[in-house]
């Protein structure tokens, strides 16, 4: 077995074990963070999707910090979801 193949095989085993044991936890941690972030963006930038919650002055002050996430946020907010999304 060459060094590359050996490394590849061991890496595959390591990734498989990670997938079984911890991938779910990592996804849920990311989901929790994303939900908090999206809630924050909704409160501050809600008027982008028609929900004005904060006066535009404060929204404008925060805008530079939120800009990198707006595209993802809008996509997640507007994507069609149903109950089974909560399963995985």
């Amino acid at each position: 077995m060459t060094e590359d193949k050996k490394g590849g095989f061991l890496r595959a085993i390591r990734e498989f074990i990670y997938g079984m044991s911890a991938h779910d936890s990592a996804r849920f941690a990311l989901k929790t963070r994303a939900q908090m972030e999206h809630l924050f963006i909704l409160v501050t930038m809600g008027d982008l999707v028609g929900v004005p919650l904060l006066p535009p002055y404060y929204s404008l002050r925060l805008l530079p910090y939120v800009v990198p996430q707006i595209a993802t946020w809008k996509r997640r907010m507007l994507r069609e979801k149903d109950l089974t999304d909560a399963l995985a």
Binding site: A12, S21, A22, D24, L30, R76, T84
Partner: protein
């Protein structure tokens, strides 16, 4: 027949099916294209849509689909003899099971990662989504009831289990705290918490439940409440605090036990002691249709379509990863089912199996696995407690997820009409009490069959959606539609047979007290599932007969290179 030969044969079937049939469908029918941009790359948000290595996803998919079901189903089905159970495991996965997992995932992949409900809305009819989601609610209730009954039965009979489970739960909570609060190295956490759980297994043998609880340890109600309370706490706590770290620690215990069992089969080479075939009709019912719903996961399971669509397909990096991840993990689950069958068929005399089955499949699994682990040197008592922990934790993991999901479903479905049910803990409590009612009043074998029936029915509905998708693309679809009809007819027959048995006892006065409640409730849930499935099939057939539109089949857009 030697158990090791059966296992080798199953491996050969899995390899052949994966290589040739799955390879053919992947390359020639679905035409998986590595150049096409997957939803994970197109809509990458770092959370739901996230390109992930196929090795990680293979582990994730396998872990998500392989719970207690492939183990328990195979053990119960041994009552018909080992050959019918084995043939359904092999034939089911080869002709239906992998196809179901693979096609549901790939159809969602080609539809921007839509969930099964969204696919039903798009391909069947607008009302199909609501019917499907209501169907899923009842289905989840049956999962929680069936798995809860397995746990209650296991902890009543296997008295060394409760303390070991409590120590494992403590180790899980500690792992959560160490990971997220103390931020200690994961290797240290794993060593400490898995070590603690293994010590807990030893402690369970030293401190069996009757020593602490006296005669109360034999109460099914107590352990039913225990299982529900366990899942309730898990559902209302933040998921990182308890449920996920517990699963993390339990993963190592489950893997050690199962790999030890497989090693036991190959080292000890035990011969199968169960009969090849017993009789057509056993206590649960006739071989057709009941065998095909008794073994659900391991051969074909609707649960997998939920995981494939909502979870895995949104993380596939490339279309060509679909076959190893979706089809491959299903074949490996079949191997798990065969190992479970062998723990019952080869690791103990058949008379002992029959005796133990009266106490539930967990007792059979614990004895069988402990005998196999004993071959590689583990003391029988320790192995038995370990096996008890494995089966309980496999069941409780799914129950936790189901109750958490039922909380969300209750809020979504009736929260608008009843504001009190918008409260998370109350919605969870409602789901938990319904589950407890089923656990306490239902006979576990019927519960299992109903769960299997609902599960297989969901599988046939997922196959219907997949067939409609293939047809809409102008691809061959009969190879998916024929298994769909087989699963549909079989499961409807099984559910009707079971609900007739249950409700006839209610209406003829043969059932009284808690049996009356259990039979009535299970019979009605079963009939509701049949009605909803028939409505969906009727809409599905209309969709199948409808013309494809003036422009004919709608092939997917041309491959677009690159992603984000």
């Amino acid at each position: 027949m030697n158990a090791a030969f059966v296992l080798i044969g199953a491996l050969a079937v899995a390899w052949g099916g994966y290589r040739w049939y799955a390879g053919y469908v992947d390359r020639k029918v679905v035409v998986a294209d590595p150049q096409k941009v997957t939803p994970a790359r197109m809509y990458m948000d770092g959370v739901d849509f996230m390109p992930t290595s196929k090795n990680v996803l293979f582990g994730y998919q396998f872990k998500s689909i392989a719970g207690a079901a492939p183990v328990v189903g195979a053990i119960i089905a041994l009552q018909w003899g080992w050959l019918p159970a084995l043939l359904w495991l092999l034939g089911g996965v080869l002709l239906i099971g992998w196809l179901h997992d693979y096609l549901s995932g790939m159809s969602a992949l080609r539809n921007d990662g839509l969930s099964l409900g969204g696919m039903a809305y798009k391909l069947i009819s607008p009302r199909a989504r609501l019917i499907l989601l209501s169907f899923i609610y009842f289905y989840l209730l049956l999962i929680a009831g069936a798995f809860g009954a397995i746990i209650a039965g296991a902890l009543t009979k296997l008295t060394s289990g409760p303390v070991a489970i409590l120590v494992l739960a403590g180790a899980g909570a500690l792992a959560g705290h160490m990971i997220y609060r103390w931020r200690i190295n994961i290797l240290v956490i794993t060593a400490v918490c898995v070590g603690l759980a293994l010590a807990g297994i030893w402690l369970g043998g030293v401190l069996p439940a009757p020593k602490i609880l006296g005669s109360l340890a034999q109460s099914k109600l107590l352990w039913g409440v225990f299982a529900i309370a366990f899942c309730y706490i898990s559902a209302i706590l933040p998921i990182w605090r308890f449920a996920l770290p517990l699963n993390y620690v339990a993963f190592y215990i489950v893997m050690l036990g199962l790999l030890g069992g497989i090693a036991g089969i190959f080292v000890g080479l035990p011969s199968i002691q169960a009969p090849v075939y017993t009789e057509f009709t056993i206590k649960v019912g006739p071989l057709w249709p009941m065998l095909f719903v008794t073994i659900a996961c391991g051969a074909c399971s609707g649960w997998h379509s939920l995981v494939s669509t909502s979870g895995t397909c949104r993380q596939l990096e490339s279309e060509t990863d679909g076959r190893p991840v979706l089809a491959g993990s299903m074949y490996v689950e079949m191997i798990l089912g065969v190992v479970a069958l062998m723990t019952a068929a080869a690791a103990m005399p058949y008379t002992q199996y029959q005796e133990l089955l009266k106490a539930g499949p967990a007792a059979v699994f614990a004895t069988g696995l402990s005998n196999l682990l004993n071959i590689i040197g583990l003391p029988i008592a320790y192995g038995k407690t370990m096996a008890t922990v494995i089966i309980v934790i496999l069941a409780i993991t799914v129950m936790q997820l189901v109750l958490r999901f039922m909380k969300v479903a209750t809020i979504e479905l009736v929260g608008d009409r009843s504001p009190v049910l918008r409260n998370g803990p109350i919605a969870t409590l409602v789901a938990a009490l319904l589950t407890l009612l089923i656990i306490e009043t239902g006979w576990w074998q019927y519960l299992w069959v109903l769960f299997g029936g609902a599960n297989q029915l969901l599988a046939s509905l997922a196959l219907l959606v997949a067939s409609l998708w293939l047809r809409s693309q102008g691809k061959k679809f009969l190879f998916a539609l024929i298994p769909m009809y087989f699963m549909f007819v079989t499961t409807i027959a099984a559910l009707l047979y079971t609900s007739y048995n249950l409700l006839s006892k209610v209406f003829t006065g043969q059932a009284g007290g808690e049996q009356l409640v259990g039979n009535g409730l299970m019979g009605l849930v079963s009939l509701s599932l049949v009605v909803m499935a028939l409505l969906l099939l009727s809409d599905g057939i209309k969709a199948l007969r409808s013309p494809l539109g003036p422009e004919g089949p709608q092939p997917e857009p041309e491959a677009a290179g690159g992603g984000q």
